[in-house]
């Protein structure tokens, strides 16, 4: 393998030991490094401080030379060179102005750069191209017993992390482990060494070097392994200053390539070890025990003649100003004047707010006075007001389908910036609409009956409230819930803010009302798998998963659980977020509804990995006795139901904190998520409400970090709305249960609801510390004795204007709310859309928050966006009201845009398989296709496919569309 090699000024100067060790090591592994001919200084960080463009040009010359050499890849061992070359490459691709400057400068010396050369780091090549195994095989003198603190520094992981993780890189760790070394846990592996500050501002720089040495020494490292010549220089050459200020804390610093050379048995003199100011001497010593503390890898339309002046067509045209929304960009009087001159138009007006009552009355008056037989309104999106105007037209005595609407707001004034262009476009759109309106036909309205039964998907507080409301109104409700019990997230909370009511106490009465209501059929442990049909007539398939317990026979006595073969509960308990344990046969929580146990086939001894083996003694069945409720032969069932409306209330998923490894969840045992803490402080939780940490300690100081997975472009941009309030609640509960010092770290306090600000006051009075500063990371490396053994929060207290270090025992992450992982699949089931954030999309954010774009399907609660319990309940009521509105009316008016077969159908049958609603059939008698109007949904697929144009569609006739095309493009003829 042959690579171009870019040493950089440092590897020829103060960092020559790096080159001296790297070259023979690479050669030993069969990699030939060819030094780039006539390379120049990359500019490092110093040039960037003077002139960015020139700095990039300097680096680009080397990239151009590398390309010219034809060797494809350029290896840059020096971390600063690696960063600068990569940064230049990024700038070259992302900023055209910079590319132009680079091209120009290179051309001045007869060079050019195409942008392709890969810049690689030796660690990348060693691990990914050569491979750990090949390296392991070359080891002749394993570094057994050598304890190494791997130090990566800044520049190979920030801001671009290409071959390794940004927060917890492990490439060097894995490499050195393959050589037999022991890697000590070193939390400062990516902390800055101070760079050039050791020379220019020693007060700061020397201290930063000291911090690195001190921590390595405390962790028992024999040496620090680096990848950067400047880091090595800082850590090595300034040993005298560090010693004189801070004492005997210095640890020898070597390049990883030097360690590799030693392990390969290469002669020491060749590896440049003699060049270190602090000598590194190592002989293998018997290790007491080598424990590997590897960083965790974290887990992303014929020629139509011009419309003749037809005295029968009398069109009334209205263009709406919509206040400033349209008028600011479109000259409405001009449009009205233009349209007034078009053939067929007898009346053309511009008006401030067409959708208002006076606007609608104006239409009705004009229809009567001017005997209009067509009406066109140019205003906002038809999705908003088409029905408003159709109703107004109908009230004026005209068939509502003789009305046509043009969008000059969402498609024109709101998306363009040139007034002239926008007005010209509005005229074109209006002209097209006039032509189309000329061809409009009067159509009868379609009535579709509504099935009074309702499906509610999701048994959290939203689903429960909606179901109860509908049931009280006398409607039959199917409530389908995925978990074995209803209750959702609210059932897991301890108390609710701001009243500190016990969540279970206010929820369980509703849950049991659901369980016992005659109008509600509760199907828990079930999913919706298919939805067919349309508003008023949905056919839904529900899959009921096997609990291996007959719901009708189980009384919830739980004697089976007591009698299980497993004497002790052994398996992580889902309800308690894994903090507690349960047996294979279990009930989710004491107040579960339905009060029925279930068996987990993955861990029950009577199964093997989910498949029934029937090998267990089945002591549970014994305990059940005469009730005979346990049934190991139970199978999955798919049931079909008919409903008229659907309410989707599937709730949220808490943000997965493993996506933010810098907060330490999983690395440190005493970092918790908010939901885990809810269970911890709950009297029926795994610790009976005592605040006992995973390692058994009781905390004396607790930090609550706000905005984890919220208000962050790297994870979720939105504010999750409830976290400030629940963080305050948890602060109160934790303080009450443990007496610890509480610290809340926030960016802003959001307390908008009733009693919320007062709650914040109360927390302040209780002595909870609120510090305005977003926490960047949680670490365990101590600077002073008081921090030993604690988790340290380093934060800028922005209001006090100081940077603080606060040691705590427990960290609570206020996780944000996200859509469920399968939100996309669920929304397809119900024919809904999701917004950009992934929550289900409402029809209108202000005026229709519980409706979707699919008639008959409603959403409520957190599945639509993060919200607290009062708002969720309000939405659930709203959704129930919308459903009731449909049901009580008994029918819905549908757009009559059905398709129909014309007489000249040739019977080719191409249309028949196309219809997704199987509305087209072949009539053998006539030899033609025939459409069942009741089934036709008006999608138009058959119309567009018919080879002889023998299918027409009401409201979207071919001639209407062609006339619209002609109207839009008339200016070009």
């Amino acid at each position: 393998m042959k690579l171009s090699y870019f040493p950089g000024c440092s590897l020829k100067g103060l960092g020559r030991a790096y080159e001296e060790s790297l070259l023979p090591v690479m050669r030993h592994l069969g990699v030939e490094l060819v030094e780039l001919d006539d390379w120049n200084c990359c500019g490092a960080t110093a040039y960037m401080a003077v002139d960015e463009a020139k700095a990039c040009v300097l680096a680009a010359r080397n990239l151009a030379l590398a390309e010219q050499s034809g060797r494809g890849q350029l290896m840059a061992p020096c971390a600063a060179c690696y960063l600068v070359l990569n940064k230049t490459k990024h700038y070259f691709h992302d900023y055209p102005a910079m590319k132009a400057t680079i091209d120009r400068a290179l051309a001045a010396v007869g060079l050019s750069y195409a942008g392709d050369t890969a810049v690689r780091h030796p660690l990348d090549i060693l691990l990914n191209d050569i491979g750990i195994e090949a390296i392991r095989q070359k080891v002749t003198q394993p570094l057994k017993g050598l304890k190494v603190a791997t130090y990566y520094g800044c520049q190979i992981v920030r801001p671009y992390a290409t071959f390794d993780d940004q927060y917890n890189p492990t490439s060097m760790d894995r490499l050195l482990e393959a050589l037999g070394a022991t890697i000590v846990r070193y939390p400062l592996k990516t902390k800055c060494c101070g760079g050039s500050l050791t020379g220019t501002v020693p007060a700061a720089g020397i201290r930063m070097v000291y911090i690195l040495h001190n921590e390595a020494r405390k962790r028992g490292a024999d040496c620090i392994a680096t990848v950067c010549p400047l880091c090595q220089f800082n850590l090595d050459a300034y040993h005298a200053q560090v010693r004189s200020e801070y004492g005997e804390v210095v640890v020898p610093t070597v390049y990883f390539s030097q360690l590799m050379g030693l392990a390969f048995g290469l002669p020491e003199k060749q590896l440049g070890l003699q060049r270190a100011a602090v000598p590194f001497r190592w002989r293998p010593a018997p290790p007491p025990h080598a424990h590997l503390t590897l960083g965790r890898n974290p887990v992303p339309a014929p020629t139509l003649p011009m419309v003749q002046l037809n005295p029968e067509i009398r069109i009334g045209f209205y263009v709406c100003h919509c206040g400033h929304n349209i008028a600011s960009m479109v000259d409405c009087p001009e449009v009205a004047g233009y349209v007034g001159r078009l053939p067929g138009v007898v009346l053309s007006r511009d008006y401030k707010y067409m959708c208002s009552d006076p606007g609608q009355e104006l239409i009705q008056k004009d229809i009567a006075e001017f005997q209009l037989n067509r009406v066109v309104v140019a205003s906002c999106s038809p999705l908003l007001h088409e029905h408003t105007f159709r109703a107004a037209v109908a009230a004026g005595g005209l068939n509502p389908y003789l009305f046509h609407m043009v969008n000059i707001r969402e498609h024109d004034s709101w998306v363009h910036t040139d007034r002239q262009e926008a007005t010209a476009k509005a005229k074109a759109l209006a002209r097209a609409a006039i032509r189309r309106a000329t061809l409009a036909r009067a159509l009868p309205e379609r009535q579709v009956p509504i099935n009074p039964a309702v499906l509610v998907v999701g048994g959290g507080i939203a689903g429960i409230h909606a179901a109860l409301t509908l049931a009280q109104a006398g409607k039959h409700v199917w409530l389908v819930e995925r978990e074995p019990s209803i209750g959702g997230h609210m059932a897991r909370f301890d108390k609710t803010f701001p009243t500190l009511d016990c969540a279970a106490c206010i929820l369980t009465p509703k849950m049991s009302a659901v369980g016992s209501h005659p109008n509600i059929t509760l199907w828990s442990y079930s999913d919706v798998v298919q939805v067919d049909g349309f508003v008023g007539n949905f056919t839904v398939k529900v899959r009921r998963r096997p609990r291996y317990v007959n719901e009708d026979l189980c009384t919830g006595c739980q004697e089976c659980i007591g009698n299980c073969i497993y004497k002790e509960a052994k398996f992580p308990d889902e309800f308690n977020e894994g903090l507690g344990k349960r047996k294979p046969i279990h009930i989710p929580f004491p107040q579960a509804t339905p009060q029925v146990v279930l068996i987990d086939p993955q861990v029950c001894l009577n199964f093997k990995r989910g498949v029934l083996t029937d090998r267990c003694k089945k002591t549970c069945v014994e305990a059940c006795g005469d009730r005979k409720a346990i049934d190991f032969t139970q199978k999955e069932e798919v049931k079909e139901i008919q409903v008229g409306t659907i309410i989707v209330a599937t709730g949220f998923k808490p943000f997965d904190v493993r996506r933010v490894p810098q907060y330490g969840y999983g690395t440190y045992p005493n970092v918790y998520t908010a939901l885990e803490v809810e269970r911890l402080v709950n009297a029926s939780g795994p610790t009976a409400g005592e605040v006992i940490l995973r390692d058994g300690r009781r905390p004396s100081a607790i930090a609550i970090i706000h905005c984890v997975g919220s208000r962050d472009k790297k994870t979720n941009r939105w504010c999750s709305r409830v976290c400030c309030m629940y963080s305050m609640k948890l602060a109160h509960l934790l303080k009450e249960h443990s007496g610890a010092e509480l610290y809340n770290f926030y960016i802003d306090i959001r307390a908008p609801g009733k009693g919320y600000e007062e709650f914040y006051d109360k927390l302040n009075e209780e002595g909870v510390h609120f510090i305005r500063g977003r926490v960047g990371e949680v670490t365990d490396w101590a600077m002073i004795p008081e921090e030993e053994g604690k988790l340290v929060i380093r934060v800028e207290d922005t209001l006090a204007g100081v940077v603080r270090r606060i040691p705590v025992d427990m960290v609570v992450l206020a996780t944000g709310l996200e859509p469920h992982a399968d939100a996309q699949d669920v929304r397809r089931l119900f024919n809904m859309s999701c917004g950009t954030e992934g929550f289900f999309l409402e029809r209108h954010p202000k005026l229709a928050p519980v409706n979707t774009f699919t008639d008959g399907v409603f959403i409520a609660g957190c599945c639509q966006g993060p919200r607290d319990i009062p708002d969720t309940v309000a939405q659930a009521g709203a959704a129930a009201a919308e459903a009731l509105a449909l049901i009580d009316r008994g029918f819905i008016m549908q757009e009559p845009n059905t398709a129909y077969i014309l007489d000249d159908c040739s019977g080719c049958k191409s249309c028949i398989p196309l219809c997704p609603y199987t509305a087209i059939a072949f009539d053998e008698a006539t030899g033609k296709a025939v459409i069942n109007e009741a089934l036709c949904k008006g999608c138009g697929t058959c119309v567009g496919s018919c080879p002889s144009g023998s299918i027409g569609q009401h409201l979207f006739e071919d001639d209407e569309v062609f006339s619209e095309i002609a109207g839009l493009l008339a200016a070009y003829l």
Binding site: D418, R828, S833, Q953
Partner: protein, 142 residues
């Protein structure tokens, strides 16, 4: 709703499903002077009417081949899957297509048809004149 701005040279026709789009609509638009036609449909799997967008895709593929034979550059007729929440996508697709069409230049089919008509008329006159001249020569010979 996001009010992201894009180029103003787009004229919109609203249909209820991309499945309704007849290839003749596209040809008619080009014939009447459009430089390009953009069809926006729901993403595969998301069609409100189940499968209309797939049918559109099939027609579109066939149409592309035909347009190729007619010498109309492929970027002029484009099918994009855009959903309700993708304001950013609408903007970038329209701006990109505008740039491509500007690079290709105007299609101007009406102009071309007029030119070809003139050509045909000129040819016809030429042929007539030739026949007349030959007939004249024959008569004179006799």
């Amino acid at each position: 709703m996001s009010r992201l701005k894009y180029a103003p040279n787009v004229r919109v026709i609203r249909l209820m499903c991309s499945g309704r789009v007849d290839p003749q609509f596209i040809l008619e638009a080009l014939r009447r002077g459009a430089d390009g036609v953009l069809i926006g449909g729901c993403h595969p799997g998301d069609c409100h009417y189940v499968e209309g967008n797939y049918k559109m895709l099939r027609r579109y593929r066939l149409l592309q081949r035909m347009l190729g034979d007619l010498g109309i550059a492929a970027p002029r007729v484009r099918l994009e899957w855009i959903s309700a929440a993708e304001g950013e996508r609408v903007k970038s697709v329209i701006n990109e297509m505008t740039r491509q069409l500007q690079a290709l230049g105007p299609l101007d089919l009406p102009g071309k048809f007029t030119d070809w008509d003139q050509e045909v008329i000129a040819l016809a006159r030429e042929a007539q004149a030739k026949v007349a001249a030959e007939t004249e020569a024959e008569v004179a010979h006799v």
